[in-house]
Symmetry: none
Amino acid sequence: MPKIVDHDQYRKELLGKCFDLFAKKGYGALTMRQIAQSLNVSTGTLYHYFPSKQALFEQLVEEISKEDVSSALAEMEGNQTLSEIMTAMGKYLVKNEDYFINQTYILVDFYQHQGKETIANSPIFQLVKQRYQQAVCDFLGIQDPVLASFVLSFIDGLILAKLWGDQTIDFSEQCELLGKMLTKYLQEKP
Amino acid sequence: MPKIVDHDQYRKELLGKCFDLFAKKGYGALTMRQIAQSLNVSTGTLYHYFPSKQALFEQLVEEISKEDVSSALAEMEGNQTLSEIMTAMGKYLVKNEDYFINQTYILVDFYQHQGKETIANSPIFQLVKQRYQQAVCDFLGIQDPVLASFVLSFIDGLILAKLWGDQTIDFSEQCELLGKMLTKYLQEKP
Amino acid sequence: MPKIVDHDQYRKELLGKCFDLFAKKGYGALTMRQIAQSLNVSTGTLYHYFPSKQALFEQLVEEISKEDVSSALAEMEGNQTLSEIMTAMGKYLVKNEDYFINQTYILVDFYQHQGKETIANSPIFQLVKQRYQQAVCDFLGIQDPVLASFVLSFIDGLILAKLWGDQTIDFSEQCELLGKMLTKYLQEKP
Amino acid sequence: MPKIVDHDQYRKELLGKCFDLFAKKGYGALTMRQIAQSLNVSTGTLYHYFPSKQALFEQLVEEISKEDVSSALAEMEGNQTLSEIMTAMGKYLVKNEDYFINQTYILVDFYQHQGKETIANSPIFQLVKQRYQQAVCDFLGIQDPVLASFVLSFIDGLILAKLWGDQTIDFSEQCELLGKMLTKYLQEKP
DNA sequence: AATGAATGAGCGTTCATTCAT
DNA sequence: TATGAATGAACGCTCATTCAT
């Protein structure tokens, strides 16, 4: 009989404790030794549960993205008009500002560390990308992919601007502005 | 007679040759040794003209940002309406797509290596940010800083999306969409 | 009734499945974990049957050497003159070229990982060496140990040359040459 | 002005001190840290002079092989008949027995560590191989490549047998035996 | 002003073996 | 018997920076 440890469950436990670590130090600056120490295991044990630092991170991203989408769904449901939705989106972004900035930071950091090609070819990141894209389409009730890309890019850009250190941007203000513009644009289109 | 090249001019000469190096390898993967070898100087000499790798890069960014703004100005002048301007902006982005993606990539890379706080506190990056912001205001003829941030964030987001590997986004299409939305929004505002 | 397979028989079963693994990856690159997985047992079980990786390998060598000698005996019997024998030996080497090169490779690998002294002092390897030496004496009908060593060294050297990457050596040609030389040498000796 | 160090000469100095280290521990068991400590430099300095452990070793082999051939030339000249030559060869092998065993050991060790393909493709090892082969041809006055391979394989095999731990083999005895056999073989051939 | 040799802590990763269950 | 989680020292290698010359 083996030691009484559910391998898979313990792996997710470890994973759960990793997010804050990455959030604090980013991907490149966080070493496997630091992770191991923070989780009170040896590096060997860490590698027993995750084949590499990259794999650990990808599994983390996978887990996080699922939680993100379901929590956002819970938070933003019940809004009807585009303006309402964008206002809610603004509030949601403000509320989780630090979280999203950190998330972008970590991803950006990972991206740089692995090189463009590695990520482009990773099935996990393609999946995660689709998950977020689909979620945005669902939230907004938008089917036009050009418009969906427009909104997603804008939100990404907002967070990136904050990440670069711009203190003057106000998520709520910007989202409401987008809400108004989208509304007017769609009103007159048909 | 002194030497024709004085300290400061030589420094800028060296700086000029650095851009392509960073563009090819990014910030983290380019070592001071490699820079020195490519410039046909010793690492010691490099450190004689630049106190650190970070400082070298910051001076490079400062220089590049000036050139970017003036070249963009030259390229995009002569357009009147917002729609025309945004269409020109789209063409400009498409034309320099690789350049801007690479620039974002390098910045992201630098960001990762220095840590969040270092950059947020760097006066050079604040200055550069203002320069780009001012340029956008000039291009668009917009004074409203909220709207300027809106446009800048959107463009940043577009480039970031490409950086993430999204092949489906079309800079021209997106910029024209923004042009239409801005036009309608501003028409009815007053 | 006890289980059909007792401890010792099961050990040999496991051993039998190990040869191909070592042949594919060598000694150093094959981990106990990989062995365990390939045999569908746990590392713990592996250590239950073999006290160490080294011991496992030594037992494998012991087993293999027995099979080698008996299969060679079966293959080469029926030849009378030294020339015939050496020609048969050449054919045998050519036929099993990859096998012998791989065997030497694995041994070399093992040798490297254990250090010179460990092996020189291992009774198993001394036994195996004697077994091969005796086999050569039997094949050739030679009693003179100097001559037997001569032939064995030569064959070892041939295989080693192939291992070094020499593509020009022809086992058959070389063995026939040895056959002629031995014949002439022995003709005139008495 | 740089520090007064002739880069190339210092590199060869370091190289010279490395042989004994490799001889004692082999390739795989000797770490770059150990080398650095023994040479009283930092690992960084070691890597300043040699791009990798493999490269260091290859440069060492290159240097050693040159010295070997010239020292053997000096030692063995003046012999006429094949028998004399082989007797001299035997003495030479006996005299440098430990040296050659160690050399084979190190090479075998390196071979295993790098994998077959790496070495087969290394221009340095092809060059070294040719150097030794040519030297043997010169010593023996043999032009027939089959015969040269025969002798080389035999010598390699002798050393390998000793390496495997066989204490009973006598280099002189074996070489003289080879001398006699070669002589008889060549006498009657034409 | 200019050189380039020197540093050394730190990286991601490995793996034979142990032992609580 | 059998399991597999856990260990941790050690590997080859990197690189911004310093400083004697």
